[in-house]
């Protein structure tokens, strides 16, 4: 009898508490941790070429949704550039994607931004917005880390202290100097074949506008 209660309690805990731990989905309304990452085909990039997910053979992919107009993206730019630079000698690739359809967020403006800010990563645009919908991306910047099997192992913020560009152009870290580096931890864990410490955080930033 005691064993049965124990067994039921355990089953309850696994079902109720275990699901979010195993599969995420606390913040993202579409994808869950552990799911196969949605792929993309022939998206145009700021370098004039088109790319599909199958073009990227690295062990770890970092997919990040950006929007030119967004001060949270401008605040995030220096750290994103540093991230891409720090991992360039490892089997890691950063792929940024824009899905907004505003004039200042589409390809011509993206090319200008990529040059001006010195983007050292692929910057794609999806005019159908489908890739954003399939990833459940509703904020910019919003990060997704994919492992070698192209499963989603992390979604959310870059660090615990998102940066925002102020009106005067200076960058303000909203929680002071970052202390937790979620994306870097997810990359390192994936490269080492270990579980990712924080699987999901709540992305903050500008809202991605989807056409109805």
């Amino acid at each position: 009898m005691t064993f049965r209660i124990f067994e039921r309690t355990l089953a309850f805990l696994v079902l109720v508490a275990g699901i979010p731990l195993l599969f995420g989905g606390r913040y993202n309304k579409v994808v869950q941790i552990g799911m196969a990452a949605p792929s993309f085909e022939n998206l145009p990039a700021t370098d004039g070429r088109s790319y599909s997910m199958s073009n990227f053979k690295e062990d770890v992919l970092v997919v990040v949704f950006l929007a030119n107009h967004c001060p949270w993206v401008r605040g995030n730019d220096p750290d994103l550039i540093k991230l891409a630079n720090d991992y360039k000698s490892k089997s890691v690739r950063v792929i940024a994607i824009g899905v907004n359809l505003r004039q200042d967020d589409i390809l011509p403006a993206m090319k200008e931004r990529a040059t001006k800010s010195g983007y050292n990563f692929i910057y794609l645009h999806d005019a159908t917005q489908q890739i954003g919908r399939r990833y459940g991306a509703t904020h910019t910047p919003e990060y997704f880390v994919l492992n070698k099997e192209r499963k989603i192992v992390y979604t959310g913020l870059l660090t615990n202290s998102p940066a925002v560009a102020e009106y005067n152009g200076s960058v303000h870290y909203t929680r002071g100097a970052p202390k937790q580096f979620y994306v870097r931890d997810a990359i390192d864990a994936s490269l080492a074949g270990k579980p990712v410490p924080a699987a999901e955080t709540s992305a903050q930033g500008c809202t991605v506008e989807y056409e109805h």
Partner: protein, 178 residues
């Protein structure tokens, strides 16, 4: 009699008078009232008896700015029908120019209703309000229960201005309860 008061106190009195004027829904004076989260909860509680629409916005949020005229229009349509429209600005309080821009935006929009500014760390604001992103609109019924939380957190179900209109119309048509 005015001479009996130190000049600073007199100035303070007029500032307070102007400040309180900004809370009257029909006046054209537009104020931006800083509140901490606890104060905000008390303000919200004090509005019980009305349908309350809270529009959460910031100057950096372009969809918020684009939708703001609808909130102003909503106020015009419902201000005499037991509905109180409120805006809650969540610009980064560390960015003084953003706060000033918010104030100017409200003036330009003729936002002649209660305009609050959440005077807390911006991430704390999101956490405490339970907001993942903005624009977001909270709508409370006459007994103060939150009945709608309209947001853009699901790419396949982002709220529209029609959703706001429908929600307010539904709550206004509910029979008054005590």
């Amino acid at each position: 009699m005015g001479g009996a008061y130190p000049r600073a106190r007199l100035a303070g009195f007029f500032a307070l008078l102007l400040h309180s004027c900004s809370f009257k829904p029909q006046t054209l004076v537009v104020g931006l009232q800083p509140v901490h989260f606890d104060q905000w909860k008390r303000e919200l509680a004090s509005l019980k008896g009305n349908v309350v629409v809270v529009d959460v916005w910031a100057t950096w949020c372009i969809p918020c700015r684009e939708r703001f005229p609808h909130i102003v229009d909503l106020n015009h349509r419902y201000q005499n029908r037991g509905v109180i429209v409120v805006s809650m600005c969540v610009d980064d309080r560390e960015d003084k120019r953003a706060v000033e821009a918010a104030r100017q935006f409200l003036l330009d929009q003729h936002a002649a209703f209660r305009n609050y500014f959440m005077d807390e760390n911006i991430l704390d604001v999101f956490e405490k309000m339970g907001v993942q992103g903005i624009p977001a609109v909270f709508i409370y019924d006459r007994v103060g229960r939150q009945r709608y939380f309209l947001n853009a957190d699901d790419p396949n179900h982002q709220f529209t201005t029609k959703d706001v209109d429908d929600a307010v119309a539904a709550l206004v048509s509910e029979p008054a309860k005590m």
